[in-house]
Amino acid sequence: MDDLLAQALSLAAATLRVATPLVLAALGGLLSERAGVVDLSLEGKMLMGAFAAGAVAAVTGSPWLGLGAAVAAAVGMSLVHGLASITYHGNQVVSGIAINILAAGLTPTLAVAWFAQAGRTPLLSGDARFGPVHLPGAEAVAGVPGLGPLYAHLLSGHNVLVYGALAAVAGTGWLIYRSRFGLRLRAVGENPAAVDTAGLSVPLLRYQAVMLSGVLCGVAGAYLSTAHGGGFVQGMTAGKGYLAVAALIFGQWRPVGTLIACLVFAFADVLQARLQGVPLPGVGEIPVQFIQMLPYGLTILLLAGFVGRARAPKAIGQPYQKE
């Protein structure tokens, strides 16, 4: 029984760790898309962030400086997206794809030129990474039946960015539903003309949203290279940005829904890693690739209206032009 509980807790904790970058990136996409700017560039921004964090943490030995560099790099990419989609009324989908391809090329190019380690950044030592944070009293209550192990093994012991991601869910929820800025942000994604008529600047609001997306994607990238991993590896986002887009759609552009979708997708990922080569009773061995397909298949079914209905912000993808 204890063994089973320990296993379940370790599975849940792993899910939380895998979900963290998805949650951060998806929330970034949520803010941008709620303001009416399609953001397919989560993947590229995250990758740039991961590289910047890995590189700066390797050189300075400080994960916090790495985090700052990641945010700066990802916001830089956001500004490119904003320039194309907001200032120049360009196609937002194309801009996002371009940024992803740009980041996929730029990160190994810079890594090879600066570190000469075949597209990686140097392996980070313990101090240059975000280490586990032990919540107060975790060891003391670990033995308490019931909630003790839950607190000690599921909630405690993650790095600070995992907690940051959870806080970001609450923060985003407050921002878009409870703050004045959030009301305007949602309005600009539903009916920019009305916002314009009210005397507010549509481009400014959209730039703010797009830059917030950059901040969150930068943190997600730093998580990959300096918290979850020990350095940047070429292509290390491996489609997580697109998975975050799927989670965002699955979560119906709402923070809590998005969090749940990320947790489900992360759980599928953790499960497939553990089920590799393990035959299940009754069904035999499930090829891991089928579990990997699951999030994408589910998102398509949702979009096609076979399970529920996805309702995007009304003005999404449309450049706004003053008359």
């Binding site: 399609v38 397919l40 490119v80 320039l83 194309a84 989609s85 120049y88 009324h89 360009g90 196609n91 937002q92 989908v93 194309v94 801009s95 794809i97 371009a98 940024i99 992803n100 391809i101 740009l102 980041a103 996929a104 090329g105 730029l106 190994p108 190019t109 890594a111 090879v112 030129a113 000469a116 597209g119 489609g239 697109y242 887009v245 799927a246 759609i249 090829p287 690739q289 089928f290 990997q292 397909m293 994408y296 298949g297 998102t299 398509i300 979009l303 096609a304 209206g305 076979f306 996805a310 995007a312 999404i316 993808g317 449309q318 450049p319 032009q321």
Partner: protein, 377 residues
């Protein structure tokens, strides 16, 4: 169905090609986009401490300097013509197909299954069967997202991205668990019978007594050119093509003219996927002679750049495909010559070209047109 339902959300194709027979403008926009992308890349090379002019020289030599290099450039260009046409035909219908990569990959499954089933047949038979199978499998992988958009309202942009990932997982499973050559560790299928291999250009030259250096460029180059001609005839000289362009221009107008947007969307995505599937003919029947993991290697995404720069016109697509083929081939030479420069520098150029040509058009256009800035093309 309203315009909003199909092309509104997430934006449609990045431009409406039907409005742009303006030759000079198209050429100038393409030239400016390429120049801007190359200038930024040169700045990057300079920032990495190398001389950009020398590097460009090495790149050019690596792409066109000797016979074998030209062959490789042509081989890459062949793939890019197929994916460029694939993305372009979807543009004509107002659709943005990001799934050419997955469609090409699935095309490979079709080619491999048919060629392995046929066994030892002469290459003309294999070529015909491979073309049909590759196009059919690619078309299926394009039709599903197309039909989902046409009849269920899910957007092609998102679904084709998802289909790329599903294709990757599906093909990995098939190659690792099902089609793997028995007793082999590497995830690849049984080799095709040598009689089915398409003749390379150098072999064809030898038939007429000419001697060319060996390279992967093969008969498929001509298939790509035939497809360009077919694309041109279809889009501008058939009523199907007219229907496609009408839907791309305005869905409401199409409905008013008695054209069913849903059917046109499905048709466009079928043709798009089919064209992408032909990459497998070049890569598998022409070069690898077996099914291998991830053989499209990003050709589907380069197709986006090719279609944008070529402005969805077959002539432009051929030129753009040769440009990107040259970059791909010259880039490997560059990385070989300069240890500090990675071959992925070429990917930077691709990204920048897509950015300038597809998303930042309005940066240059007012300049060329002297109209009010921000006017959508």
């Amino acid at each position: 169905m309203t315009d909003q339902a199909v092309t509104g959300a997430w934006g449609g194709a990045p431009f409406k090609p039907a409005l742009l027979p303006g030759w000079a403008e198209a050429l100038a926009l393409a030239g400016l986009s390429i120049a801007a992308a190359l200038a930024l890349s040169a700045a990057l090379i300079a920032g990495l401490g190398e001389n950009p002019v020398d590097a460009l020289g090495v790149l050019f030599w690596g792409a066109f300097g000797y016979g074998e290099a030209v062959g490789y450039t042509l081989y890459y260009a062949t793939n890019y013509i197929f994916t460029g046409l694939a993305v372009a035909i979807a543009f004509q219908c107002g659709l943005f197909n990001i799934g050419a990569e997955g469609q090409a990959y699935l095309g490979g499954l079709g080619v491999a299954l048919v060629i392995l089933a046929l066994g030892e047949v002469a290459w003309p038979v294999a070529a015909l069967a491979g073309i049909l199978a590759g196009a059919a499998f690619g078309a299926v992988w394009g039709v599903i997202p197309g039909a989902l958009q046409a009849y269920r309202g899910s957007h092609v942009v998102i679904t084709t991205i998802m289909f790329n990932f599903i294709a990757t997982s599906l093909m990995t499973w098939l190659l690792v668990d099902v089609l793997i050559r028995p007793g082999q560790q590497a995830p690849e299928s049984l080799p095709f019978a040598p009689s089915t291999w398409l003749p390379t250009i150098d072999r064809m030259a030898a038939w007429v007594g000419a001697e060319l250096p060996p390279s992967p460029a093969n008969l498929t180059v001509f298939l790509a050119l035939v497809c360009c001609l077919g694309y041109w005839l279809f889009v501008w000289h058939t009523h199907w093509g007219y229907g496609l362009r009408t839907v791309g221009g305005s869905e409401r107008a199409a409905v008013y003219a008695g054209i069913s947007p849903g059917r046109m969307i499905v048709l466009a995505m079928a043709l798009s996927g089919g064209l992408a599937g032909l990459v497998a003919v070049n890569d598998l029947l022409g070069v690898h002679h077996r099914l291998i993991l991830d053989f499209p290697g990003g050709a589907g995404f380069v197709g986006i750049a090719v279609a944008l720069i070529g402005r969805a016109h077959p002539g432009g697509i051929v030129l753009a495909a040769v440009l990107f083929g040259a970059l791909q081939q010259g880039g490997s030479e560059l990385a070989f010559e300069y240890p500090g420069i990675d071959a992925d520098l070429v990917v930077v150029v691709q990204g920048l070209v897509i950015l300038f040509a597809g998303a930042l058009e309005n940066l240059f256009r007012p300049w060329l047109r002297r109209r009010r800035p921000g006017r959508q093309g």
